[in-house]
């Protein structure tokens, strides 16, 4: 049984209607996402701004309501789990801006132990603090950090505190929403390594949401590429990076600048033209059709379905043959 499973998950927001008196309308952001995650594994979710990756992350925890489909936690429909709040100790989330995620008026010890008040209300104050210190140490911060305040932290330390707060309830899964995007390169590597170490020692499953394909490659077992709210490709890590199948995945891969001048100098002038289409006005056919070098008429008219073209490899493109 999967730890987490989503079936045809759809999420949308209500936005104001056109003009002063227009009726509010529903704006779909995430469409028909299905996925499953096993204990101890990492699913990387990658895409550009507006692709719905963060919205998906929140919907997987049912922090925002879904408009279609279901999410199952250990086989149980999350919408029907009684007292979901307490079960949240099992599923946690960390965010991009680590400092904004911490209450500036609380000591780090309080911040980290706070979730325990919900998850394990029977715990004494002293025991909760001991757990917080233990969690801080697990993320590489010494016990004396428990008495410090968020403004004393660097970005990397703040993200460690965010992780400590996420693991204090001994979760089975953490959703990581762009956790290293705001960090310097040397700190980014420390945090990625930390997440991988914790995954190993605690058997954590991770959903790693990022715009950075290289980071996702390093940490993920499976990769899912999203574009305008839809999954366009899903594949095991090594197959995906050896040979991305969807033209959008290829375009993303080509666009990432690598620290290798020989590769990069050859890529000058190869950028994909065009803008990302607006979420407010998505294309009718394939989400990538407006920018795709292969697009034919059918791509503008009919939306390709996500289908399995090789074992465990799913692609939504009219032109990709079985591999």
């Amino acid at each position: 049984m999967s730890l987490l499973e989503a079936r045809n998950l759809g999420v949308g927001y209500t936005i104001p209607g056109a003009g002063l008196f227009g009726a509010p309308r529903h704006l779909p952001i995430v469409h028909e996402v299905s996925l499953s995650l096993q204990p101890g594994r990492t699913l990387g979710v990658v895409g550009e701004s507006g692709c719905g990756k963060s919205t998906l992350g929140r919907a997987l925890l049912q922090l925002i309501p879904s408009s279609a489909g279901q999410v199952f936690w250990q086989g149980q429909d999350m919408a029907k789990i009684p007292n979901l709040r307490r079960r949240r100790s099992e599923m946690q989330i960390i965010f991009q801006d680590p400092i904004a995620a911490l209450d500036p008026r609380m000591t780090l010890g309080k911040i980290v132990s706070r979730p325990l008040a919900t998850f394990e209300p029977e715990l004494s104050k002293a025991a909760a603090r001991a757990r917080a210190v233990e969690a801080l140490q697990q993320v590489g911060l010494s016990a004396d950090f428990a008495d410090r305040y968020p403004h004393e932290l660097s970005g990397g330390q703040a993200q460690r505190v965010g992780i400590a707060r996420a693991i204090v309830g001994r979760p089975k899964m953490i959703i990581c929403d762009e956790p290293v995007s705001a960090l310097d390169v040397s700190i980014q590597a420390q945090v990625i390594n930390l997440l991988m170490d914790l995954q190993e020692s605690m058997g954590l499953a991770l959903v790693f949401i990022s715009h950075n394909l290289a980071v996702v490659r390093h940490i993920s077992h499976e990769v899912m590429v999203m574009c305008l709210g839809r999954v366009v490709e899903k594949a095991p890590r090594s197959e995906f990076y050896a040979r991305p199948l969807h033209p959008y995945s290829k375009a993303l891969m080509d666009a990432v600048p690598e620290p290798d001048p020989r590769r990069e100098k050859g890529r000058v002038g190869t950028a994909l033209p065009g803008e990302l289409p607006s979420v407010l006005n998505p294309p009718k056919g394939c989400v990538f059709a407006t920018r795709c070098p292969l697009a034919a008429e059918m791509c503008h008219n009919s939306r390709p379905l996500l289908r399995e073209v090789a074992p465990e490899r799913h692609v939504a493109c009219h032109f990709v043959e079985g591999a």
Partner: protein, 336 residues
Amino acid sequence: MTVDRMTQSNPEPLLSLRDLSVRFRMEGGRTVAVDSVDLDLAPGEVLGIVGESGSGKSQILYALMGLLASNGEARGEACFDGQDLFTLSPRLLDRVRGSEISMIFQDPMTSLNPFMRVGDQLAEGLIVHQGMSKDAAKAEAVRMLDRVRIPDAASRARRYPHEFSGGMRQRVMIAMALLARPKLLLADEPTTALDVTIQAQVLDLMAELGRETGTAIILVTHDLGVVARLCDRVMVLYGGRVMEEAQAEALFDTPSHPYTKGLLAAMPRLETELTPRLGTIPGTPRSAGREVAGCPFVARCEVRLPICTTARPTLRGVAGLEPSRRTACHLTGAPA
């Protein structure tokens, strides 16, 4: 290529910085953000300045443009095309900025006037700096927008910045910066706020325009990948000091400073063999602070020697590496 330009076509560097320091007066003392940086830039050369937060990389550009915060002060010499920018009268400096040196910033939205049509903003510089007529300037603005691949430039020129996407705004900034045909373009993290596919477009555009107009570029970035795509030469900055300087290919092939090595090892990549864990540099980046006696990287350096805390390593050649390499490290920077 760069060396050729320097020695054959134009022996004079376009810009040369000598002993550039940037200090800020703070409560409780002075903070040093940039510490004795020397730099020579050839006409048409593309130089990358790489560093993490607090390395002082952006402050170098701000100092050149006279844009330091009010408690900041630049010292040293900044010789641009035969004149020292730091001793120019405000009027003369104004003439140089905006016509011979242009700058683009990370966030294009805050650099554009939200109440002014994009075309008018572009034309303004031409009217003010080059005395063009309004109509001629507007026509030139449209031509430039088209040049940076803004679709339907003539009608786009009549729109306001908020009607442009982030990538288009940055292209507008590039158009604005290049309108005056500057000799030097300063770019401060110009693609950091953009999605990768849009970043690739903007980098392409900068490479192409730099080549065509012969504009030299100083690109400040934290992203070694961006440097690899665009730059001829790279300068690695840490704690306000230059740690290493080399031609781009050489730097990535054989980094010699422990900090450069650490940075490269910490970068996750798309194409190299996967390692179980990324390389790391312990500790956190040093932010601007008091002057240090030794090497600013010493606290994080895994190969430090006792001398590293007491004596400042000078930037010098490295035995066994190409002659243009400069490294500031007691351990590796043995004279060539």
